[in-house]
Subunit: 159 residues, 3 copies
């Protein structure tokens, strides 16, 4: 969690670009909500123009992003982050995504579309382990060590 | 929305085939439920036979389709389209999909499987904008112009 | 159902490996919950190192698995399989997945992450047909014949 799949035009991004782009995505989670960096999976699909159709037309200046969220639910963020209960989460997430995509996508003249799904946290595993509860001490340890390590299941979720 | 990912046998479809196939998919949404054409993303994954396993067997005459719906929910369609409340939506969507896949898949002797997920509309964005409400005047404008343009957020959803 | 997408390092698995790996995945469903083998779709994405970023770093010893479940819901399994109602389904599914991934992933020194989504059963089709109800006689027939065949819709789901 999260899994970002980016469908990008073939040859649009160099290996260095992809590292920079993925770094910006990773920071959303590591700096924004305290997730371990290694939770963030970014997969680039270099799609040939004839396999990438938007509105029926082959496109080579379009980036389509599909995101699966697992470890964090939008609805828990106001309480966890001390935000007002009526915060416009959808608008905030839009602006976070748009800011990350700006230098890599919009500023290059590409159009983009992005959608975000939330999938069940219970059926998510890393290296044979059930990841520790969100916001727990053990999760912080995983974040500090940047890897999955066995932990006692009694680790409590802070209220 | 929607995002159609088609896992197809490598070299099964020419670039011209893909345009025709994507056009038929696009019309489901543009003609069927009034969506802007550019909402429809179609990605073809040309999968080598040894990477495409159905029931454990490598297949080169199979098409697997995975669809994410975002802008339209099945449950709203009866009221919006003036259909009986007890309409068999699952059966109708099956028949729509089967009709689109018939010339491109079934008639070529390929087997197929398709599933459709519905993902949260709130966390979906295009070119930095939150798309206008479904069935709104602004959505119609986007459909007519076939691109995303800024709009006043006070645009109302017709009842 | 299910659809397993495996994002694997380019050239990590030979065609023979993929057949063996997919066979182990298929048995989870055919032997575990009686699904027809041909319901199990396994797609390998051979991802170049520079397109496969975990925590912002290009990785060539990591396997990311994304699963869509359709035909079986976790919540129905205790009753169907005669398990205690308070069985730890999430823990059991973790262990099943970890066992399948052990020889192909962990034992090769690769790290892995896997998540499982459950998508709507109603909007899932095979070869133009709505698959028979789970655990029905017709589903058993499909499993025995390992292909989709027309059936009477009145086929009942056993209680």
């Amino acid at each position: 969690m999260p899994l970002w799949q980016l469908f990008v035009p073939e040859d649009a991004y160099s290996p260095e670009d992809k590292i920079g782009f993925a770094e910006d995505i990773t920071k959303i989670y590591s700096e924004g909500v305290g997730l371990p960096r290694f939770y963030v999976s970014v997969i680039f699909h270099d799609v040939p123009k004839h396999s990438f159709l938007i509105g029926g037309e082959p496109r080579s200046e379009f980036v389509r992003v599909s995101i699966d969220h697992i470890a964090r639910r939008f609805e828990e963020l106001p309480e966890r982050l001390g935000l007002p209960q009526d915060v416009d989460l959808a608008g905030q997430w839009r602006d976070v995504c748009a800011a990350v995509l700006k230098p890599w996508v919009a500023d290059r003249g590409f159009n983009w579309e992005l959608h975000t799904d939330e999938t069940p946290i219970a059926y998510w595993y890393i290296d044979g382990l059930t990841p520790p509860p969100g916001w727990s001490e053990q999760e912080k340890t995983w974040a500090e060590e940047n890897r999955a390590t066995p932990y006692a299941a009694t680790d409590e979720v802070p209220a």
